[in-house]
Symmetry: D2
Subunit: 294 residues, 4 copies
């Protein structure tokens, strides 16, 4: 098996705004720094967690540059560049490459449900314009389209599409990917409550916003898997499961912002229409964090 480019915990920062609805770049850099020093193996700005689709081109460029500069090659960077149109996706992918990103992540956002041919053409057009690797990302819940394993296989024939991120939450998808794509294609889990099952199935890494709140537990799970210690992996997974389920159920940007505040950190503001967690949800999150000794 080829060693995959990314391995382990790939941490997703949120994008904090200030009270005037502007991106708060200094706070963003501070949040990225926390993720790096707490041990994440990679940093992925402008994911769903980073509310990428809610931002203007200029804002996304500023966040891309800030993330890459702050990381400073201490770990790898994976930048989200997805866009509804092919033209804008190319634009952001080229920008990320120039800014120094290790790789880009692309989900085929769709308002109109795309055909398989349209999706292949879309990735192909972007791939031909950059030389860094592409992680194809499947997440029907946010992207609106569900890429079948057959389609993913077609995408992997494009030279620099080398990684797959699966967020359907169905472990049998991962089984299929491993069986069909073979050991040489790295796949990544993007569904937090599936972290244990995905590693058991052979996922190379876990794309997650959880390190914003519980970095040590996410690392402990990966390390137990690395040591082939299933019993320990199961134990640390069940410890963090309530938190993983909560942040997914309430929406990652909302839950991480509030969690940071409960931990004494500045979470920044959300951009409308996204609003802060309700009081009862906040109380539930507080209970989960305090059960973890936070």
């Amino acid at each position: 098996m080829t060693t995959p480019l990314f391995k382990g915990i790939i941490a997703y920062p949120i994008t904090p705004f200030d009270h005037n609805d502007k991106v708060n770049i200094p706070l963003f850099r501070k949040q990225v720094e926390r993720l790096v020093v707490s041990g994440a193996h990679g940093i992925a700005p402008l994911g769903s967690t980073g509310v990428m689709p809610y931002m203007s081109d200029e804002e996304k460029e500023a966040v891309t540059e800030a993330a890459i500069q702050q990381v400073g090659k201490r770990v790898l960077t994976l930048v989200g560049v997805s866009n509804l149109t092919t033209e804008r996706t190319i634009y952001h992918a080229e920008f990320a490459e120039k800014a120094g990103a290790t790789a880009v992540m692309i989900i085929p956002m769709s308002y109109w449900k795309l055909t398989d041919d349209e999706i292949v053409k879309h990735y192909d057009a972007v791939a031909s314009r950059i030389s860094i690797p592409i992680m194809a990302y499947n997440n029907p819940a946010t992207g609106g389209v569900d890429m079948s394993p057959v389609l993913l296989k077609r995408l992997l024939q494009i030279p620099n599409v080398t990684m797959i991120k699966e967020s359907t939450g169905d472990v049998q998808r991962m089984h299929y990917l491993r069986k069909e794509l073979g050991n040489d294609v790295a796949f990544y889990n993007g569904s937090n409550p599936l972290a244990l099952a995905a590693f058991a199935a052979g996922a190379a890494g876990w794309c997650t916003a959880a390190p914003n709140l519980i970095p040590a537990l996410t690392l402990a799970l990966y390390e137990a898997i690395q040591r082939n210690d299933l019993n320990k992996a199961r134990e640390v997974f069940y410890q963090q499961l309530d938190l993983l389920k909560f942040i997914v159920a309430r929406g990652l940007p909302r839950a991480i912002k509030k969690g940071l505040e409960l931990l004494g950190e500045d979470g920044g503001e959300l951009r409308s229409p996204l609003q802060s967690l309700s009081d009862s949800d906040t109380a539930e999150l507080e209970g989960i964090l305090s059960a973890l000794g936070k």
Copy 2:
């Protein structure tokens, strides 16, 4: 029952592009003109059919102005102004009002699934900034969120949210709307294959791209309903059903563009990643149109 603002056939133009991926405004105006002279009761630019989410702010402003000028108050205009952020939605709603739109249509686009409170706050923020009526539009297939009848009821308490467009394709939703909202709230059907069932259930109008290809048949259905002639309505509905199902299944922008070409009209270009219909789909559409004597 109060007379609803819009009644009958509300026709949705596509947005044609040129070979340089620019909006083709002269062609757009020509397509709008065809819809007006063929008898549509209203014109709705920048809907899903008009690929609104794939366009820049400037492009949407140009299309809004072109549509309203071309219509010239001969019929009503309903302009799509939906956006992921509340701030941009307000911006486009204000623009449409200033440009002379009769009303605006807003779907709560969502990348992150919005809570009911967030959706209410979103509509409320927009409504407080304009004085023309708002049609709230529910279409989980393209917008990503399914507004429950309970939520729609809350939205209708905002003074200028006065119309509901339902595109779930579930006729029982329309029954619920009529029962719960009473006769004074107009609801509109946005699901083409549901046209007969929706009118039978009491829909005030039909939001549809079909008049681009078969204006007379869509009008004939509405007129039969107006005359309380169910047998005739059923007959003309079954005549056009194959076409209605085809344009939905293949995606409205793709199907209307190709249909226009088959009728000898200029359909313009699509914007990537959307691609033209495949040859086999084109042949199927040709068969359907020629069975209708086109």
Copy 3:
């Protein structure tokens, strides 16, 4: 269009039990009599409403004979004879024919999801042993299998499979049936809340338990359709919609039994594990019936 065998309101009696969990045949005959005298165009014992799958062979035979004798050819009879095994289905179909049933209704009950070939073979085996017509019944919610329109078309090639009952609750299925099967195949609606949409789409009849509680309203809907009076049909449909939705949501046997009691009739007992409606559901039903002047 050939005149269909059954037309209008096909009424489904429940099967009442006594306090010793035995079928209460005298009460059943009384309930059948109520349906006949209140104007139903057909009587269908041993449907889902009649809890057929919960009964022994002997019990089903007794109910079949009681229903046919009580009806005494005043209207048509349609007897449910479905069974998991082909052998038992044949047995009950032969019994029903000998007892004098006008036709039998067969749903392909499935514990193991049957293939299309298995379903065709199943119907074919039964059809070859009887000479009365068969109504093929599609109801994934209770039967566990969803017969596609393509499969239904295959079944209609068996000479005495001449009628289709659709209970998916999707009006577009009915559109398909009418388009694909042509005017000569009668289809029947088995989804109560779809009654108006189904008649609008051309259904020949409505298979329903509602006449146990509101016979006049169900007849009024059919008669308005017969007179091509959509406005009246819509009006009487909305009058009865709350009741139609209630009896489906709570389960027909439970809701009809309790409704009969609220109307001053003997509803008999249910067979375990089915239990009587809860107090709050009973109060809701009481409210719905009293709003109808009952």
Copy 4:
């Protein structure tokens, strides 16, 4: 953690019929014997695999006695006694206890969707009549009802309901069971393609028909888990995954019968409407088995 009653591989025999559609008891005993000597930790007659719902009371009694006698207490026995009515479920549960079964398995079969209260009352009525343990079995795909984790928790308050079998195929259900029910409640996996994920999540055992065809591989998976060797477990899981997926996709009774024949064993006949695998499916199964060196 209390030691669970059943652990490891719980093997499900099919029920073979002869050419006259009678249960072939001698062949059934031979098939049970194969499962015992190949190392299964428990034998479970009259499951879905054993086509229990397709059989008469007398046939089920004969199969129960034959299985228990053939096993002869060498391993544990778990007898399926589910029935649509409470009265018949009690009858078969009492019969199984008298015949010497270690425990019974009960799925709340439903034609009419049961309420939670009805399901609790059903289990309670059966439990009060027997003294051996009950495994509550959740399988919406065959049983028609999906028991929520909340309901399962209620069932576990009945003293002899001590085990849960989950067949939804959703690993997150297992996470929930482990978190909510605690370590003292044993849960079992009934979804073959979920075998690895379920053991990783802490399942006590795997209820499976696969040992009819690949006993050594199923045991090897369990043993790797017992040794805390995730890498080995993953390896043997992927070896058998194609077979596991095939037998589920084609229906266990059909696939196991044909698989036995391909292995040179007598598979007996199926009962109509179930039919033998098609030629192309048979060829696919042959390929899968020969890739496993069979």
